[in-house]
């Protein structure tokens, strides 16, 4: 390895070491540290060396090696620290309400932030575990279409080899094929196990780090009929992983597979279970040569059948290399192609492309939740600031006395900061307990499999979050409190500073603005999601069972359907190739009279059988639907309105068009219905009756009567067992798979609900504290007013007025901002709700009512107080 500069240990650790180490020993021990570090780097990898370095530095921190103290100074600071902690604890005990408000607020904020941190950390590490991650790139192909540029990951099969041979700056190149052509499984004896294969060449295991338990990674795939299986599979089939080596497994053909690749294979290796944070998931590694034997198209330059990944040398220019790859490919074939290179690990977070440029994707949610975490922490900090400054008057005497006795501003500042750090760490303990308790449900909510292992980075992160919170929330109060001059405090008639109140008010406004913003977001997301799930799609998706056609059923689809239709609980049944929800499937193989020379129409083909239209309740606007009454309909098609418009057909019924080379007649026009997600406009679509040529039926749809699903399913299952003996009846509901399309939105919707609730809760806690404090301070005033005849109502009103103003101001600030953000989010959907005024009004009212309830409770209690009691004591 000839790296330009040797890796260096973390500088901050070195500084820390220099700071604490005895000056006489610094030089040689530092030398030792550096030597050890570079030694470990050579042996293993940099991160391990850094970790080791960190531990070594920590272990060097011992009494015999650290810098000698300045005796006097240490004694004072030690006793001061002790004093500060004591005072803090006394303060906590005396003002229990404030303490509890602080603790609840901070610990809620901290647990939110910690959970979000765990989630973000998990998102960020996806696919990053590969050893060559920093230089691991995937070759993607750029397709220029009339209306957009598309990025796909298919590349010609021989590309990887050619790149490695002909271009400089490449360490490894691998070509593999992920799309499982074989859906079948492995058979050993009479055991059958479903398995997902991946076909790879010999450098695959060099490029990607999937460690092997048994076998040598450079040799396991040299044989064409070798198979490397997963740890789990090995256990399932052979009991112990080491016994798998040398065993013979057989691929079994599954109906619908393009090639019959059934043949025995020899297990040459076992790989470790693939971690959850890998996007590539497979059970068996097979040789790509084995695949080529059955599918000779793969190694052709004209076919885009492989996936290509590269490990680059350090300092290779990505753009130049991509250009060279395009040239290289074009020199081998006449077909013009353009390639780009993408970091392999960025594929997960930046999975959206717009005109060929990565525009985001999941990373948006990472940002979104990070921002939410920070906002919630800020709200919690603001609580702390407000209450601490508000309660300053209680501590003024303490400050004044300390200052007169010679305490410097610095030492007071440190006292207040350490007090808030103390409470932050108490809150951290509470927060960690909350995190541990909530973790399983959080995992479920986010659909992740995270664990709670305490790694060093995590511990540091938690400590960091806590320190951040403590410092942010204490700096202002500490500065504010320590700045008082004793003379001001101790003289009886001091003027009140208006600035203090102003800061406090603006902080409350800020808090409530965020809360209102969250409320609007929750309302908008909720509305949009319920709009999506109830939107009239032009099809009836309720009570439709879906199942795949497999096994002997393939030849008996028609009788099966006929039998189904006879059942009383079945309304209608049909088969098709198309799943109708969320399918992205199109063809340009359509031609019609009046088509412009270079016009290419992307149309969605749905190959279906009789009664498909009826099963889904697709409405026919003109003409008729497919029906057995009219003899054979196999050369008939139905177009949707969008297709008719795009093709500019007038009087389409009866016209003959060419579809996939066949002359077909248009017999009907269907009203537009949704077959993709609501992110997209409805595109053109063609329904074609299944013909002898189209061996395409894959799904069966059964519309059943609502209300008695369980019995109906049982009846269908029995029938299925008669037709397809030995196969298990697996089914799904169409409306469920439709909702699954919006899974990430649904998750965000649920999560944002919780976070909004927490944000509001914390804000209210702060308001509650402030209100309680104001009421307490104005106790005498209230007493006098009551004696002079003020009613409870007017007093409550008086006390709440200033809070109402603040919350109103917050609402005025928050609404326009939330309007903009909501509008921006909704633009993602082609079909969306209107942002109506009542949404915002509702949010405003909710915020206001919550604030009133919080404040009102306190003020009402204060106003109700017996004036005699509050006025008696002096």
């Amino acid at each position: 390895m000839n790296t330009p500069s040797p890796p260096r240990p973390p500088v901050w650790l070195l500084r820390f070491f220099r700071w604490f180490c005895h000056p006489d020993y610094v030089e040689d021990i530092e030398g030792d540290l550096l030597e050890r570090f570079s030694g470990i780097v050579e042996e293993t990898e940099i991160n391990k060396a850094r970790r080791r370095f960190f531990i070594e530095v920590l272990l060097l921190f011992r009494l015999s090696l650290i810098r000698p103290f300045d005796r006097q100074c240490s004694l004072i600071s030690y006793s001061m620290l002790k004093h500060n902690i004591l005072i803090s604890f006394r303060g906590f005990m005396r003002h229990k309400t404030t303490f509890i408000i602080h603790l609840i607020g901070l610990s809620t904020g901290l647990s939110c932030a910690s959970l979000i941190y765990l989630w973000v950390q998990d998102e960020l590490r996806i696919d990053k575990f590969h050893k060559h991650d920093a230089h691991l790139y995937q070759v993607m192909q750029e397709f220029t279409r009339p209306d957009e540029i598309q990025i796909v990951d298919w590349t010609p099969g021989p590309l990887a080899e050619a790149i490695l041979e002909e271009l400089p700056g490449i360490r490894y190149a691998t070509s593999y094929k992920t799309h499982p052509v074989l859906g079948g499984g492995i058979v050993v004896g009479d055991q059958r196990v479903r398995a997902i294969p991946i076909y790879v060449d010999q450098s695959y295991l060099e490029v990607f780090s999937f460690p092997l338990l048994h076998g040598n990674k450079s040799q396991v795939l040299t044989d064409k009929y070798a198979a490397v299986i997963s740890e789990e599979l090995a256990r399932k089939l052979f009991g112990k992983t080491e016994e798998a080596i040398g065993q013979i497994i057989t691929w079994e053909k599954k109906d619908g597979d393009l090639f019959d690749m059934t043949r025995p294979l020899i297990v040459s290796g076992v790989f470790q279970t693939i971690p959850d944070y890998s996007t590539e998931k497979f059970d068996v590694l097979l040789s790509i040569e084995f695949y080529t034997e059955y599918n000779p198209g793969l190694p052709l330059w004209t076919n885009d059948q492989g996936t290509t990944a590269l490990v680059l040398e350090e300092g290779t220019d990505i753009n130049k290399l991509a250009e060279k790859i395009s040239q290289l490919s074009n020199s081998h074939t006449e077909f013009e192609r353009t390639f780009v290179l993408n970091r392999y690990s960025s594929k997960y977070l930046y999975n959206q492309y717009e005109n060929g440029v990565q525009t985001g994707g999941r990373i948006t949610y990472v940002w979104l939740f990070s921002i939410i975490a920070i906002l919630i922490l800020l709200i919690a900090c603001i609580n702390f600031m407000n209450l601490s400054t508000a309660k300053a008057s209680i501590r003024l005497k303490e400050i004044a006395v300390k200052k007169t006795l010679g305490a410097s501003r610095n030492s007071l500042f440190i006292q207040f900061v350490s007090e808030s750090l103390l409470i932050s760490f108490l809150a951290l303990i509470v927060a960690l307990i909350c995190v541990v308790v909530l973790f399983p449900s959080f995992n479920e909510l986010t659909g992740k499999h995270m664990n709670l292992d305490l790694s060093l980075t995590r511990m540091l992160a938690f400590l960091g979050i806590t320190l951040f919170t403590g410092l942010v929330s204490s700096t202002y109060p500490a500065l504010y409190l320590s700045a008082f001059k004793p003379i001001q405090i101790l003289t009886p008639n001091r003027a009140k500073s208006g600035r203090e109140v102003w800061t406090r008010k603006s902080l409350v406004v800020f808090q409530f603005a965020i809360s209102t913003f969250f409320i609007v977001c929750v309302l908008v997301i909720y509305q949009q999601m319920s709009f999506v799930s109830t939107k009239n799609l032009g099809i009836e998706k309720d009570h439709i069972l879906s199942m795949k056609i497999e096994g002997p059923l393939k030849d008996k689809v028609e009788p099966f359907l006929a039998e189904l239709r006879k059942r009383p609980e079945v309304v209608q049944a049909a088969s098709s190739n198309h799943i109708l929800v969320g399918a992205e499937n199109w063809t340009t193989g359509i031609n019609w009279e009046g088509r412009a020379e270079d016009e290419r129409l992307r149309i969605n083909p749905i190959i279906c059988n009789y009664y498909f239209v009826e099963t889904y309740g697709i409405r026919i606007k003109e003409g008729r639907s497919f029906s057995p009454e009219f003899g054979t309909d196999s050369s008939k098609v139905i177009l949707n309105e969008a297709a008719v418009r795009k093709m500019r057909l007038e009087n389409p019924i009866g016209q003959i068009i060419t579809f996939w080379g066949d002359q077909v007649e248009i017999i009907g026009i269907a009203e537009n219905f949704h077959f993709e997600s609501l992110y997209k406009q409805i595109g053109p679509c063609i329904l074609k009756m299944v013909g002898t040529k189209d061996n395409f039926e894959e799904h069966i749809w059964i519309k059943i009567r609502g209300g008695q699903e369980k019995e109906s399913i049982k009846a269908i299952e029995q029938l299925y067992a008669e037709f397809n003996t030995g196969y298990t009846f697996e089914y799904g509901f169409v409306d469920e798979s439709y909702l699954a399309l919006y899974e990430s939105e649904n998750k965000v919707s649920v999560l944002s609900k919780y976070f909004a609730f927490l944000a509001i809760l914390i804000s209210c806690l702060g308001l509650f504290g402030l209100a309680a404090f104001t009421a307490e301070r104005r106790k005498k005033e209230i007493g006098i007013r009551r004696v002079l005849g003020a009613s409870v109502w007017s007093l409550t009103n008086m006390l709440s007025r200033s809070f109402t103003k603040m919350v109103l101001l917050a609402i005025v600030i928050a609404l326009p901002i939330s309007y903009l953000v909501a509008h921006h989010w909704l633009e993602n959907f082609a079909y969306r709700i209107e942002l109506e005024w009542w949404l915002f009004a509702l949010a405003a009212i909710v915020a206001l009512v919550i604030a009133w309830m919080t404040v009102g409770f306190q003020t009402f209690r204060a106003a109700k107080n017996d004036p005699v009691k509050s006025l008696r004591t002096e």
């Binding site: 020993y25 030089e27 021990i29 030398g31 030597e35 050890r36 531990i55 070594e56 272990l59 060097l60």
Partner: protein, 109 residues
């Protein structure tokens, strides 16, 4: 002999310093111990013991030449003093005396 008592780890370190004879500095000592005794040693513990032994007068140290690999930092080489040698010898003699005093039968099994 209270003054000259050596702890187990101290003894190992001193012996290693003696083995390395003039080449004994922090990392070299650690590696030697790890190699010979198959025992993990942190820099913190070794440095503490070295300083303590130096303070007791069993070891002396001096700086060597600066080299590039250590970021230009000099090594500190330790050597065993006469007092140290004497103590080591005494420790060994005491041990041997104890060994010899064991009745033969007690170690048979």
């Amino acid at each position: 002999m209270g003054r000259h008592r050596l702890g187990e780890f101290e003894e190992i370190v001193m012996l290693t310093v003696a083995i390395l004879h003039g080449e004994a500095y922090g990392i070299a000592i650690i590696e030697e111990i790890e190699k010979r005794l198959n025992r993990k040693v942190s820099m913190g513990s070794i440095q503490t013991v070295l300083r303590r032994l130096e303070k007791k007068g069993f070891l002396v140290s001096e700086f060597g030449e600066a080299t590039k690999i250590r970021g230009g930092k000099r090594k500190r080489f330790f050597t065993v003093t006469n007092l140290g040698k004497e103590t080591l010898r005494q420790t060994r003699d005491q041990r041997m005396a104890l060994w010899n005093a064991i009745p033969k039968i007690a170690l048979d099994f």
